[in-house]
């Protein structure tokens, strides 16, 4: 039982699940996408990225790349939300919700890739 590997995997998959949870639901219905879930997704994605830093060379670099992509998109989603509500006073319109959810969807794909890499790393014999 490798504790380190368990925690590593835990954070990566938690990042994916929270992201998915935020993403799922009607595309432009704000009632289906909770801002706190977005917040949790961002925090856990950041934690997952920190865990991936300094990992082994071969898979570590690609994992880090996927993490960077996911974080970029999620933070962009948060920024879109903030600017819509507080800065430009547009309010929560369906278009705004649509943009937010699209960005979150992109981040989710990156997290999926990351998870697949994690699985293959653990089930394929390393060279």
């Amino acid at each position: 039982m490798n504790t380190e590997n368990t925690i590593f995997g835990f954070f990566i998959i938690l990042a994916l699940t929270l992201n998915f949870g935020f993403f799922i639901g009607d595309f432009d219905n704000p009632a289906h996408h909770n801002v706190y879930e977005l917040f949790a997704a961002i925090v856990v994605n950041l934690m997952a990225m920190l865990m991936k830093l300094g990992a082994r060379k071969k898979t570590g670099t690609i994992l880090l790349a996927t993490s960077l992509v996911a974080n970029l998109q999620l933070i962009a989603a948060a920024l879109v939300w903030t600017s819509a509500i507080y800065i430009t006073e547009v309010g929560m319109t369906p278009e705004v919700m649509g943009s937010i959810v699209s960005l979150a969807g992109g981040a989710m794909l990156a997290n999926v890739v990351s998870t697949i890499l994690l699985i293959t790393e653990n089930f394929v014999v390393d060279s």
Partner: protein
């Protein structure tokens, strides 16, 4: 990713994680704890305001309680948040600082910076292993000639000294073991112009460390990885010297061997030795005086490696030698040996020192050598004294005594390597001079004396001229046009036509033929390589003459060729008119 970045990231993982957790906890708390609006209405901070508040709270900026004054519940939570977030920040910043102080990190940083600096050198450069006295004088020599150098030395103090010197060029230096292959590779050993469009080339490696084994290892690595690269190595032990010969090291500089050759030269022809001394010394330093070792019997103190070599040379020069040695080992037949301590006056007088003309003192202890000098002078004040100085620090002690010929290891090595690194012509000239006789040397010396500058005169400066298009375009153009230029044309003084610049042409190389001490009226051809001797000032005047065809023409003919299209056209018209009106 390079090792430095990986190192940094790994160290910063924990602090960044702690920081993230602190921020998250504070934000969540602020979002949950209820606040109060101005008119008493309950109000909750949204995510946006919570993040904003935590941002300026954690970095201790503390802008204020926005947008409404905080309720007491909120204040309690903020108190808790302040402590955890500020401490998290301090932990993160402290880790960064500790990381930069970490010697492993700093070493890795220095090494990586060294490697990239070396890779960026655009010109050909030398690698020098060992930065002692010889190393620093060589670096000085090479940087003055605008040749790049890379230095490796195992002692941090030496590298510090190098950093503080003001050389004409930047000298990348690394404190590392020069016998390690990865160190040499980082220093650019494999940089070869032919490979992968690289711009920098390593053109030689000079192994000068005080350890023969390190020099051997560095030479072996160099010859194995780059067989074409010239290797100059310093060595003192005979066995290691033989190993180096196996690996075909290009130039093995053995101070004892070199000194023994010097002694032979002094004994055979003092003027030859003087000439060599003058030409291989530091340009600009004081002239050395000639040495005249007298004829007669010699005493040799100390029969180690040094003693053996010199004994052999003395015998070759048909001198009678008595050897004094404390604990003789493997003394061959026919050697006139007296066992005893040479510092003992009784032993010395037993050896016949009162009737001897010269003494060679070669033990490996400076104190013993100094004592023997004193003792010898007591018994015979007219001795020709040849001494070996072992350590550089004893310089002043030896300078205090009246010594005729002093072997100082570093000086010998420096001279030899300086000659090897100098223009190839000088090396040829010195080799040639060895085979000449005293009369030839006297002629050369008298010509040199005529051109030396300074009061008192100092050692001359040597330079060479290559009659190629890019080196001396003036001369090249003139030769291409079919004009005759002789040597004396090159050193006419441009300021006063009848005067000549005080310099001496020592050697002219044309293809495979060499002309030593060429005559002034000799004609120059394209691709001739000429070695001159004079002073730096004269060199710059001469190079100005040679580069500019107009200056050269003015020198040779005293006429000004017109410059520019207009004047040349006018000149041509004038020439045509002359030809038409005065047919010859």
């Amino acid at each position: 990713m390079n090792p430095i970045t990986i190192f940094f990231i790994r160290r910063m993982r924990m602090p960044l994680m702690v920081l993230l957790m602190a921020y998250t906890i504070s934000i969540i708390g602020l979002v949950l704890v209820p606040g109060v609006e101005v008119d008493g209405e309950p109000w909750r901070m949204g995510l946006f305001h919570a993040i904003y508040f935590v941002s300026f709270m954690a970095t201790t900026i503390g802008l204020g309680e926005i947008p409404y004054p905080l309720s007491d519940g909120q204040r309690l939570w903020v108190m808790f948040s302040i402590y955890i977030s500020v401490i998290a920040w301090l932990y993160a910043i402290g880790s960064i600082l500790a990381l930069f102080q970490d010697p492993k990190f700093r070493r890795a940083l220095i090494r990586s910076r060294f490697k990239s600096t070396v890779a960026k050198i655009r010109d050909p450069y030398y690698i020098i292993c060992g930065y002692g006295n010889v190393g620093s004088s060589l670096v000085h020599l090479l940087t003055e000639r605008h040749t790049h150098v890379v230095v490796i030395d195992n002692d941090q103090e030496c590298i510090d000294r190098l950093d503080m010197e003001a050389y004409d060029l930047d000298v990348p230096a690394l404190c590392a073991d020069a016998s390690a292959m990865d160190v040499l590779i980082d220093a650019g050993l494999l940089h070869d112009k032919q490979g992968k469009g690289r711009k920098s080339t390593c053109v030689g490696i000079i192994a000068l460390t005080s350890s023969d084994e390190v020099n051997l290892k560095a030479s072996i690595i160099s010859k194995t990885l780059r067989p074409d690269l010239p290797v100059i190595s310093r060595v003192e032990d005979l066995k290691i010297e033989q190993s180096m010969e196996m690996f075909e090291v290009d130039h093995i500089v053995d101070p004892i061997d070199t000194f023994a050759n010097l002694l032979s030269l002094v004994l055979k022809a003092p003027s030859l030795h003087l000439l060599r001394d003058w030409l291989t010394g530091d340009a600009g330093s004081d002239l050395t005086d000639p040495l005249y070792p007298p004829d007669g019997s010699w005493i040799l103190c100390g029969y180690g490696r040094f003693g053996r070599e010199l004994h052999e040379r003395l015998i070759q020069a048909d001198k009678q030698v008595t050897v004094i040695e404390e604990s003789p080992l493997d003394v061959p037949e026919g050697v006139n040996l007296l066992q005893g301590t040479a510092t003992n006056l009784g032993v010395l007088s037993d050896s016949g020192i009162r009737n001897a003309v010269g003494i060679v003192i070669g033990t490996n202890s400076d104190e013993v050598n100094l004592t023997i000098i004193r003792a010898a002078y007591l018994l015979n004040p007219n001795l020709f004294v040849v001494v070996r100085q072992n350590h550089r620090e004893s310089e002043r002690l030896f300078a205090n005594e009246a010594i005729d010929l002093l072997l100082e290891t570093n000086d010998i090595i420096a001279r030899r390597i300086r000659m090897l690194l100098s223009t190839r012509l000088l090396y040829e000239f010195i080799q040639y001079s060895r085979r000449q006789d005293a009369q030839w040397a006297n002629v050369v010396i008298s010509r040199l004396c005529a051109v030396m500058e300074g009061d008192p005169p100092h050692l001359p400066h040597l330079w060479s001229i290559y009659a190629k298009s890019n080196d001396v375009p003036g001369v090249y153009e003139a030769l291409k046009k079919g004009r005759d230029i002789c040597l004396s044309d090159l050193f006419q003084d441009p300021r006063k036509k009848t005067r000549t610049l005080s310099c001496v042409p020592l050697l002219l190389v044309r293809g495979k033929s060499e002309y030593y001490m060429p005559d002034d009226s000799m004609l120059i051809e394209v691709n001739d390589h000429i070695l001159f001797c004079g002073s730096k000032r004269i060199e710059s005047i001469m190079s100005k003459n040679c580069r500019n065809i107009y200056a050269l023409n003015h020198l040779m003919r005293g006429e000004n060729i017109p410059d520019g299209y207009l004047w040349r056209w006018l000149q041509r018209r004038r020439n045509d008119y002359d030809r038409r009106t005065n047919p010859r």
